[in-house]
């Protein structure tokens, strides 16, 4: 098993609030890892450490190491812009730019100085995101004319365009209807053949359906998040080692 990303003694504060406590975690290469746990347990916070999105929150402080391919990317000497062009992100609500479908995909390539054939690159990304056939005749139309599910797959295509090896997904299907959710889940499974995915989800069935590995987080009495258990998904959902995990996945608390 290859590790693509490892968090070591990770602690996150927002001002005085200790949001995440002593996280040690290994993310396996070309697998889908799901973060599950009750609201406010720091799943999204942990995810946003991996591409330094917490840098944009002025009160946030992230302590500890995040080793990505042998480099500590949490170090101040590493420019977050470089990390974000290698580690992509998909957000909870579909957030295409109010630009054309084509311009949405091209955006990341342009800011990263892509010099190749833009038409080909856009087609390739949309094809990978299983969206090409639906939008190929209206690439110049605004992305906002797409349905919610299409918009989210466009956001995935946009992230794929800059060819990341790791994509972080923060509840990517929570704003979608069941059919659109299924399409996104199918896409995530397809992508996992060549890309590593970390997905935060509120939906335990979703974690069970799509992920290879599951990390269960909880909050302590100071409302700080911590990892309870991390194992392969089958193990977590059939024979969890920790009774709190079992209580959570059987729905005894949320």
């Amino acid at each position: 098993m290859n590790t693509i990303l490892e968090a070591q003694h990770l602690n996150v504060w927002y001002g005085d609030f200790h949001a995440l406590k002593n996280v040690d975690l290994k993310i396996q290469d070309q697998k889908i890892t799901a973060f599950i746990g009750p609201s406010g347990c720091g799943k999204s916070t942990l995810l946003r450490c991996f591409n330094r999105m917490n840098d944009l929150v002025t009160t946030a402080k992230v302590d500890g190491n995040i080793i990505y391919k042998g480099t500590n990317i949490n170090s101040k000497s590493i420019d977050p812009i470089k990390i974000r062009s290698q580690i992509g992100m998909v957000f909870q609500k579909p957030n295409p730019f109010p630009k054309s479908i084509f311009a949405n995909i091209a955006f990341g390539l342009k800011v990263n100085g892509f010099k190749g054939n833009m038409e080909e690159a856009v087609e390739e990304s949309l094809t990978k995101a299983a969206l090409w056939d639906e939008v190929k005749d209206r690439l110049d139309k605004s992305a906002l004319t797409l349905s919610g599910g299409q918009q989210q797959r466009l956001c995935i295509a946009r992230a794929l365009a800059v060819r990341p090896q790791l994509i972080l997904m923060d509840e990517p299907a929570s704003a979608l209807d069941p059919i659109a959710t299924l399409a996104v889940e199918e896409l995530i499974r397809d992508l996992s053949s060549y890309i590593t995915i970390v997905i935060v989800t509120h939906n335990m069935q979703q974690a069970a359906r799509v992920s290879d590995e599951t990390v269960f987080l909880m909050v302590d009495d100071q409302r700080s998040g911590y990892i309870v258990e991390h194992d392969n998904t089958k193990q977590i959902f059939t024979q969890p080692k920790d009774e709190r995990t079992e209580a959570y996945i059987t729905g005894r608390f949320s």
Binding site: M53, I81, R158
Partner: protein
């Protein structure tokens, strides 16, 4: 527990509540009409008095003591010069300040002090800007009573308007767009230039329309700086002396002869035409940007 008796009473009051609703609805309609009717009466009066005086002479001639020969060429070109230069200064500076305050400035006491002051400046009487311009641009920097000094003064006057409107529209750009851009490896400048500004452009253009409309109609600061009415030439450069349409109109209205009142009305029509054509360019641009993001 629901109080059934009270609920029944409330329901029986529906007719009364509709009645109250209708009273307020008619009040709002009357309020709207007062504004519109006032404007229509004004336009009709100006039209009746001014249209007979509209001619090519009006635009081609310089001021004269004889109403038949009087024109507003100097004032029209002075206004166009003033607008052009004012736009040149105030639009980039205003948008730049708004970008800094919204996107870059740290949120601290100094920043909020600056913000409060900019809002207050939008309410300062324009003659004060005129006197400031007179002492700073005309005398201290020795630009003289030039169209450059006038437009710098006018820029100061409308900057708060442009900054406030631009900030509002920059702030209204959803944070999710910024997140999306940052997550793709965009730098802060990429985010500002390629995401925030395009999305904020319609609102910024609205601010520019408001500011420029204010500037083209202002009289007091120009009186303080230029004070010329009988100008028999058009500005030939930024350091040229100038006059503007509102001053010319004011001067004609103040004349005792009846004919000059007609000329003044014609001058108002020219001023409104200038204003509307300027605004229609901005509105055209704004609609173009809005369409682009929605289509």
């Amino acid at each position: 527990m629901i109080n059934n008796e009270k609920l029944k009473n409330d329901i029986s009051n529906v007719g009364y509540r509709h009645f109250i609703g209708k009273i307020f609805l008619s009040l709002f309609i009357i309020s709207t009409l007062i504004g519109i009717i006032g404007l229509i009466i004004l336009l009709i009066r100006v039209g009746i008095e001014g249209i007979p005086w509209l001619s090519t002479d009006l635009i081609n001639n310089y001021p004269s003591r004889k109403p038949d020969e009087a024109g507003l060429k100097a004032a029209l070109f002075g206004s166009i010069w003033l607008m052009g230069l004012t736009g040149l200064f105030s639009i980039p500076i205003g948008i730049g300040a708004a970008i800094y305050l919204e996107e870059y400035a740290p949120k601290n006491k100094l920043t909020s002090l600056i913000e409060i002051n900019i809002s207050n400046l939008a309410g300062v009487p324009s003659i004060i800007y005129g006197l400031l311009g007179l002492s700073v641009f005309v005398y201290a920097i020795a630009l003289g009573r030039s169209v450059l000094a006038g437009s710098l003064t006018m820029s100061l006057l409308i900057l708060p308007i442009v900054i406030l409107a631009s900030r509002e529209s920059i702030r209204a750009v959803p944070g999710t767009y910024r997140d999306a851009a940052y997550a793709l490896g965009a730098s802060q400048w990429d985010v500002v230039r390629k995401v925030v500004l395009p999305a904020a452009t319609p609102g910024i253009l609205t601010g520019i329309i408001l500011g420029m409309s204010r500037a083209v109609g202002e009289t007091a600061p120009v009186i303080a700086i230029s004070a010329l009415v009988y100008l028999r030439f058009v500005p030939d450069g930024p350091l040229s002396r100038f006059t503007v349409l509102p001053i010319q109109i004011y001067n004609w209205v103040a004349r005792p002869q009846e004919d000059f009142r007609g000329l003044a009305a014609a001058g108002i029509i020219v001023l409104l035409t200038l204003l509307l054509s300027m605004n229609s360019i901005a509105i055209f641009l704004r609609n173009k940007y809005q369409r682009e993001s929605e289509e």
